[in-house]
Amino acid sequence: MELNTQSPEAPKMLSKDLVTDQEVRWCPGCGDYSILKQVQTVIPELGIARENIVFISGIGCSSRFPYYMETYGMHSIHGRATAVASGLKAIRPELSVWIVTGDGDAMSIGGNHFIHLLRRNFNVNILLFNNEIYGLTKGQYSPTSEEGKVTKSTPMGSIDHPFNPFALAMGAEGTFIARSMDRDPVHLKEMLRRSNAHNGTSFLEIYQNCNVFNDGAFEIFTEKSSKKEEAMFVEHGKPLIYGQNQDKGIKLEGFKPVIVDLTANGNSANDLWIHDETDRAKAGILSRFFDRHEAGIEHFPRPFGAFYVEQRPCYEEMLNAQVEEAISKKGAGDLDKLLQGREIWEIH
């Protein structure tokens, strides 16, 4: 990891040092602008030299991201940023590798690579900009669009059941699973820092508003009027509390989450579910807080923050350890011996 830090005498990197000469071409008002700004704000704090940072993206609006970051970068092909990043990280473990992807890129065409990256646990950061729509192709439903969604490709409403990205990541044995949103810069920056700090694949889902094709998709979580009731920010070691006046909480009755009115008699924050991001079973329950106001179903707030964090060896560490082990056991390879093989004969 020696390359991963800035030398102390190097001038401190500033946000503006991460801005390229390329004109940013997202639609005015796109949530991507905010994410770009937060990333450019957080990276200089991390102490990583600019030349050791690589942004790799797939295809989609979000995937233009590397062009706007004055680091190394690759705008690859649809769905494959995760696979490209895996190969890079495998052979250059000292680099800080960031994957920028979208809901179509990561969950649909790139779904396979996404899950395999999570299980292998390369030490990279996935920033998934989820806007629940295909923006670059001008407005078709995506694998995270809700059922019934009317789009250009679903005039009668989508009949596709959407992915729950958290449940998917849990199922794929992800080791860092977190959610934030474009319109909460403070929280987003904190989640970016935590993604970077995690040794393993960090999956950060960022709710991102597409103001052209899916405006307001996350309004209830981002607008002042509803945010406190609908979004619940979880923190390790703290009770699950939300509500206009922090007046609601979640309690576990066995495996069943129950909403508690903290203003009512006999209810106390001490009885609430204390968030433990290392608890796989609880993270599984939390990942199911994914409903959309349907009649007859108890409605839970949408959780934001780091859900689940696990320490597990990274693929590239083990890969390179095997190479080192082979060298220490057999000695560095001798090409002449190899070419000769085991059985030879001579013709005079």
Partner: protein, 615 residues
């Protein structure tokens, strides 16, 4: 009893049995023994796609053909002199490949009513007795019975005992061809070092087979095949996929970059992965990706990071990699893509050979997407050819496609292996400095038209690359129409420029001018060479070239073609190279095409030569 000894200059043996009968092992053992003895040889395994097809049936037959001699051997051979048939199905599947007058060694136990029925012989018919084999010499051995007899006191179960059957046959053949058993004895000792009872059983049965030949009064003739006159040097035997793996390792060592090999298992390419995975102490990182697309994309990432990056597959997998190959071409990163071709289309014939992916290699991508293509001509030649593929990739900053095929991959031949210091150097360097004043232009080209390789971690050269059309020199996204046309032509020119740095096309045999030129590529080499040889013996004027560099072609190819009255292009496809030659050189080349999942035989090509020259 006295036996006579007959000296032969070449023999073709086919070992055939159930896929569980150990015929591949028997064949390999006989082959290595012949190689160590100094015979020239060529082999061709032929196994079913199913790992364990139903016992005793024709789809379950596994074969291994060996052609060895005291003369130069160019191919695994046409008609067999000897067929070892472990059961009725093996006989039925292979008898048509045995020459009239040839020898059939049959395991009589494999011709019981059940085996005959499974091989679809009519009720009551037994080819061993009904005259089917009248024009062959038949040696019937009850291998099962004699193996069991040899091991009555071994304490092993019947199943384990029967598994040693192939050793009886091998021992018998060693006797018949006057071979030492040392190599196999040593092999068995290593293989079963932890299972002394199994080792003991195998050794016993091997010797029993040998002694049976020696003591049984039935066999009066033994054969000797003397060492072949090969160029002096030190040899080993090698299979194509093995040679490919070694060529990659050699390239990695010579260019000074560790190798990253990302792949997804597929027949017949997987052995390259198996081979490379053994050599981690050469700094090789093998990566079994989740799919073909991930495999090539991981390799693109590794190339971006500054390693020798290689992926391998077969036709169906290459189809999946097509989009990423286009990306690699746009990124202008060095990458080697190996296609061990098999019968297609779709899943096709996974274990059979074909040359039908030449067009896929040349044209199988969206847009104008030229990628250099190079093909090896023999199992041992895979080494040099894949090494050359790495050299082109690294020196010209481009993906390169290396074409092998199932026949080369699993076939073997003696190889006069090089010394590491005899290998052509591979010159590759990372760019460390800005190349345009205070700017770094990632697509500023050198005299070879190749761009700088600036890897992450290099201070001051931070840059972004991607699959969108890029502006000349800066690499920035550009939708400018003039620039697009310029860049399309530039990428093609860059590939053509490689022709300045590859050898001119040489003749394999024959005069540089004349009546008939045979043009081959890939694994047809041995059969064409043999046929051209035979044709000259018959008095025909024939020349032969085998093209390694298929894109770009060697610069003198047109000139060569124009010097002949007729051009014949044998290919295991419907005519892909022949179309290219007609297209690019306007020559009336004639195709000879075989699409049977089987290599050409020498006489198929010889017949065509005679037909063309008799007119």
């Amino acid at each position: 009893m006295d036996t006579t000894n007959q000296v032969l200059d070449q023999v073709i043996i086919k070992f055939a049995g159930d896929s569980g009968d150990g015929m591949q092992l028997t064949g390999t053992q006989f082959t290595n023994t012949a190689a160590l003895f100094g015979n020239d040889l060529s082999t061709f395994p032929d196994f079913p796609a199913e790992i364990r097809a139903p016992l005793g049936t024709i789809p379950g037959v596994s074969g291994y053909q060996l052609h060895f001699g005291s003369v130069n051997i160019f191919s695994p051979g046409d008609a067999c002199d000897v067929l070892v048939a472990m059961n009725a199905a093996a006989l039925k599947a292979n008898l048509r490949h045995v020459r009239k007058g040839g020898t059939v060694i049959a395991n009589s136990d494999g011709f019981d009513p059940k085996n005959l029925r499974l091989a679809n012989y009519p009720d009551g018919a037994n080819p061993l007795h009904d005259g089917t084999l009248d024009s062959f010499t038949v040696i019937t051995l009850d291998v099962t019975k004699m193996t069991r007899a040899a091991l009555t006191e071994s304490g092993l179960g019947i199943k384990e005992i029967d598994r040693a059957k192939n050793m009886f046959v091998l021992g018998f053949l060693y006797w018949m061809y006057n071979r030492e058993m040392e190599f196999t004895l040593k092999f068995l000792q290593e293989k079963f070092s932890k299972k002394p009872d199994i080792l003991d059983a195998n050794l016993k049965v091997l010797r029993a087979g040998y002694n049976f030949g020696d003591t049984s009064e039935t066999f009066t003739t033994r054969y000797t095949v003397n060492p072949a006159p090969m160029p002096p040097g030190i040899y080993r035997n090698i299979m194509g996929n093995q040679a490919t793996a070694l060529g990659l390792i050699a390239a990695s060592q010579k260019c000074g970059l560790d190798m990253f090999f990302g792949t997804y298992p597929i027949t017949p390419a997987s052995d390259i992965l198996h081979e490379l995975a053994k050599y981690k102490n050469f700094g090789i990182r093998t990566y079994q990706a989740e799919d073909e697309i991930a495999a090539i994309c991981s390799v693109i990432g590794a190339s971006f990071g500054g390693k020798l990056a290689v992926t391998a597959s077969s036709g169906p997998g290459i189809a999946l990699k097509a989009e990423a190959m286009g990306l690699a071409l746009m990124l202008e990163l060095p990458l080697v893509i190996i296609n061990v071709q098999r019968g297609g289309p779709s899943t096709g014939l996974p274990t059979k050979t074909e040359q039908s992916d030449l067009f896929q290699a040349l044209y199988g991508r969206n847009g104008e997407a030229p990628i250099p293509v190079i093909a090896s001509k023999s199992p041992a030649d895979c080494f040099e050819t894949v090494y050359e593929a790495c050299r082109i990739a690294l020196e010209f900053m481009t993906p390169v496609i290396f074409l092998s095929d199932g026949f080369l991959a699993n076939g073997s031949e003696p190889w006069r292996f090089p010394k590491a210091d005899q290998l052509k150097p591979i010159v590759t360097e990372f760019t460390k400095e800005k190349n345009d004043g205070d700017k770094f232009l990632p697509y500023k080209r050198d005299a070879k038209l190749s761009r700088p390789w600036a890897i992450p971690g290099t201070k001051g050269l931070e840059h972004r690359i991607g699959g969108l059309e890029k502006q000349h020199e800066t690499g920035n996204i550009s939708y400018d129409p003039e620039n697009h046309e310029f860049m399309v032509k530039m990428r093609a020119a860059k590939v053509q420029k490689i022709a300045d740095h590859i050898p001119l096309q040489a003749f394999d045999s024959g005069a540089e001018k004349g009546k008939l030129l045979i043009v081959g590529w890939g694994s047809t080499y041995g059969a064409i060479k043999g046929a051209a040889n035979d044709a000259r013996i018959k008095g025909y004027e024939v020349s032969h070239i085998q093209i390694r560099h298929l894109l770009p072609f060697p610069k003198n190819l047109g000139e060569i073609l124009y010097n002949f009255d007729q051009i014949l292009v044998p290919e295991m496809n419907t005519g892909q190279l022949v179309s290219l030659l007609r297209d690019q050189f306007m020559v009336p080349a004639i195709g000879l095409n075989k699409i049977k999942g089987m290599p050409f035989s020498t006489f198929e090509i010889l017949d065509k030569i005679e037909e063309l020259l008799k007119k």
